[in-house]
Symmetry: D3
Subunit: 283 residues, 6 copies
């Protein structure tokens, strides 16, 4: 179960509110690279973790709980960036010292467009769980497969795209408070990338954990096709790289190349059934 | 641009059609662990790939094109498993030798439930691009961040959950043809896991590629918080592991632990504006 | 604006309630082939219809209003099929004369699975605007392009898939009341297919209405590629048919075939920008 | 920011695991009546709360934090109900003492259908953030309007449908542990209904808080149409009730009835523009 | 069944077409606070209404039918606001007297951005069933629980957020025709708030209708936890209010506070099964 | 199975990159009128095609494969239009010769809004599979009914709305390269409209193929209601046209009109069950 502290994990300050930047921050809340995703992903992985030790479950819950605080920070940042935003098309942004300065001469109408209306029409100047284009976050993006190693790679993927997004937001920021908040979040993403990869190391690294799942007896797979790069270009040219030669990373095979060609036949389906709603010509 | 061959990449044969297994196979077509996802993900990553070399773009397009053929194989497998499936509630499955045998005494009504109606009502006994519960695949699951290393980890995540799914389908299969098809697909997933990780190796491995993006000057992040595991449990207990001590995997820090506590203050938002549609008591 | 009559457009009677059939009927309410779709599609086409005459607008509103009554009939049919359905896992369906008979020896647990729980857990034994697998209807399926001829073909498509669905439901029905309701709905779908095609006839048929939009000067398109069937098979074989020879249906060209091959070059994108969050290796 | 305790808020015990009941519990996790919804709704309302006092914000965060613990309880209940569930179609449920007893003679195939595959194929026998039919929870269901009174009614709506669902799950349960867990959750829903209504009382009740938003000067609305029930039935019959006579609940008007009829005209839209992609006949 | 009148329920006039305002109006059509929602919600509640009297059903159908006319009014308002909108990036908005004046010096490019392209690219200058950001309305927002009191609170929630939206649109409007249309709609929302609350009054008000559902014997719930506010803040501070003391609104309890703490234990899940696709280390 | 050629099907050149036009092109990639839709629709129709001849299957696969190349062209066009787009709010668009010229004096902030952020924040200046407003493409738009004629009309609908969109994009384009690319795509859409209609001709045209499905014995439908236009207007006025008189297009009936009126009765549902979670007053 859970507790909260009214104070934020890290300071969130906005000197020059900017409703367009509020919009961009939404991507870090409700985008697929955002904080709702990692928070919920780690929770569901943790709540379903099975195995002889509870330490992975515990680790997941620790970090999921930390991420809750990140959603809170970003929601606060959005609300602060919407302070003094214009609420009507008539309102003169230029007449509002702060907004006018930020907008670089833009006017209220321009700003409202930039806000894409939802902060104005639906939330009363606050964050909502959608991305920067208003597409609501969809929980199908919570990856929790029941396989610990697969889940760790899902988490590395999430923290990698997450840190890329945070860097882009940092580069786009013009407010010192926002840069400060993001330089903290970027650091946490660094650690979280390291953290999930450390679990894979602990599970044996490339050689012990791969191929995922490692519980499937590898002799049951089509071993002749487990380490060859399939070339699908019509002219047969091959992009050479680490993946076309040398020992495989799991130490269990050797990379080769193979020119893709049909091993199967043209499929033959039965005719449509009389009662299946097809055209007569299909029967 | 693209060409096709009428023949399948690998043989797809179904000796004993089973409409419930057809349903399960849908997860490998339109589930988030499925083939539409990897196919489209690799294409969009390839089409947007930027950089001095085109070899990563080429590699991505080769494998994306291969995956198109996997969707085709699975769609064929679904259609073949639906041959002879009952189309009405009255139909006696038991009276149909093949279906009856597979169903183990089940009747048509039972089978129709297992099919969840859509194969019967919407497709006329064929595959459709949704998961095993009929939830349509949603292209927001195509991860293509513009950062090559982040994308590679997204791909490892996709192939890891994909191979886990393929193994579960293999374990659930009872038809020799289906087991044969899956033992090939499992092998291809093995290679694809190896392939994307090989790119990361080529990009410098843990030490060269991390933290992602490696183009952000690391001194700009909050370095004091880049390698410490945050403990969020109220009693302060820490799950110990590779992530709490020793050098970090990127070789740029040392794992430590830190008891999470508020560094920020309780946030203060301005009052609601008079024209913002709030209650009077909020103004 | 609108009025309603408490009575249904056509009688809806259910002699032997069947919760599994209730589930199947949901496809005709909230499936992409269903009645919410046609109702809302015709309304939005009508409300946005532009042109010198209002008769198409009027026709669309007449039929949209009729379709509202079809949603009502189906929602009623679902509720009636859920009468006496078991509400708990313990309940003995077999002990309930009507349900037991319908179920053919099935028990309450079996029936609840067939219902997929939502009629039990979310609606209290009533219809809801989702398909037979519980996927909610999504208004992106309302096609209203602003081009009258395109919209008419969208409507023919809707009524064609709609009548296919109604026929499948008719074939699956075992209750005389349900068959009677559906034999009426199938007839209405017949008319609606005829109706939208009649508009295209009135707009000039194949020769006057095509290519859609007919307002684009056809000399501006790449006329050399406007009537040739592109062959994409790697072996160059062509499926011959009405589309490979003879005058085109619009009377403005002649069908030919063409072996697809690249006319363009390999695309070259610029490198990633320094501030774009890519890996250093991409810059 | 947040902390967690490894222990659950309330005991969750399952004596007789039942994978079908696990499926039903998913509705309370990821259904629109479920716990993710209330948790996230209260958080976003709290994080965006504006006004002279922070007590509503604080109250919202307290209850949101409590609801996090409810998601955790339910996720645990799902995982426990999936213990010993069959993982293959061949597996004999009947041979497994516990499952066989629960299933009442059902077999593994039957159970797998009831599970709808996702617990088997996607999660490795654990909960996921979707409803009982696998439809992922969609954050558009988080209502946070920026108007405190509107939000409170959204919360009453959520807790009312939530308690209805919990009661249905209680009635469907057969396991003493599940009944115990739910009898606690039902009680919490009772309090939460009372809690949000208490805020409305504090804000002035029906007379002070209504119409929402109470900040809009009521003389600006069309006062002649603010308290009359519009009758839309074609025969003009009126369903009489508290809403057709007597003083309105806000004390600011008197309920009357009005026969709906057009006050507007038939709309006239301009013709389609030449460059708008319409048919020539629309221009 | 249904009838329509070509005339609108209330006049819709637009003197100065404004494509950006057209965009904002979309929220009232296809937003979760909009008219499609209330229309369909009342219909599905009505069609599924069970009970000894039909008057609630009748009332719901009357108001649902009225709301159909509101969708029509708004769709008309959108189409009228798009008259004379620029259709190409080259077009000079400033050269168009009407648009130029409205735009305050903006040009065609600016306006097209504000329109977010869909009115230009997808509809030919007409409304579509999506919100102001183009997110399609999703029928999962139709709440119809089968419990009359719960549904009434869902309706109050819908009309409260709906009136908040209408007020925001009124405040943002600059056209007299739009203000007139909205001042009518705001009045109707006032009545509809009153109407659904009147049903609750008729059902016994707070004391008779609560807790919802009132059909569950309250002695079966955990009565010790049915009227106490749970405090989840780590420092134990309590936000005091009507919800922490005094008799509960339903007259059946007394509000108290309780410091949230674990009553349960740390959950223990079984190990992963050998055939479940987990890593070996989890078994 | 499939092959690719690195070269594009048709040249894609962008002389003056325009990030706002990139945004508009997204509609042709991930909009419901776009290329992902037709590509996947033709594939799934082909993979599930049943009948005595494989030529329709072959034709579908040929064109589906062609459409893959169109997605590729458009994705390339988006990436090229994003070259030199501003990546930060501070960046001076006007200072960048190319962009500044295109923007007509706009600045970086303005451009970033027009891009709606996702090309900046999520993709690193590349295409993604969503429409011009960022709504991800949803595979429920893949229509494949199992009835060949119904599917052909779905395809005509797709190519009709697709060509309307392409024409709108052509009209909005200012770059010679983009106009060239689109004039090719518009021509292909012309052919594809002709192609699917040619199949219907081959299947018997209006008289042979209709009503769809033609496998349902027409004497089983309610023949009295199969060719009459239902008038739902309250005043009984009828919009006259080809659909109200003369022989029907299928040659099997005569168009007439009918004034819609109730043939059914007011529905009567049973009371709510005691254990169904309804209010007591409903039982």
């Amino acid at each position: 179960m859970f507790y909260f502290d009214k104070r934020l994990q890290y300071p969130v300050k906005v000197e020059n509110p900017d409703p367009i930047y509020a919009r961009m921050l939404q991507q870090a809340i409700g985008g697929i690279e955002g904080e709702i995703r990692v928070c919920m992903q780690y929770f569901f992985q943790g709540w379903g973790a099975r195995g002889p030790t509870t330490k992975y479950r515990d680790m997941l819950l620790n970090t999921a709980t930390e991420e809750m605080g990140h959603i809170e920070m970003l929601a606060t940042a959005v609300a602060l960036n919407l302070e003094k935003a214009p609420a009507t098309l008539q309102e003169e942004g230029a007449a509002d010292g702060v907004v006018g300065a930020v907008m670089g001469g833009g006017n209220a109408r321009h700003t409202i467009e930039g806000m894409l209306h939802r902060h104005l029409l639906s939330t009363g100047m606050a964050a909502f769980p959608a991305n920067c284009e208003g597409v609501p976050f969809d929980m199908s993006h919570i990856y929790a497969s029941g396989n610990l190693a697969a889940d760790m790679y899902c988490n590395v993927a999430a923290e990698s795209t997450g840190r890329v997004l945070a860097v882009r937001l940092y580069n786009a920021a013009h407010d010192a408070g926002m840069k400060d908040m993001l330089h903290f979040m970027i650091a946490r993403d660094t650690m979280h990338q390291q953290q999930w990869l450390a679990v894979i190391e602990e599970l044996g690294g490339h050689q012990g954990a791969l191929p995922i799942p490692n519980s499937f007896p590898q002799e049951k797979e089509d071993t002749a096709n487990a380490y060859n790069f399939y070339v699908s270009s019509v002219d047969g040219t091959t992009p050479e790289g680490r993946w076309t030669q040398g020992p495989s990373l799991d130490g269990k095979g050797t990379y080769t190349t193979y020119k893709n060609k049909p091993m199967g036949e043209e499929p033959v389906l039965g005719p449509a059934r009389p009662d299946s709603g097809a055209q007569l010509e299909q029967m």
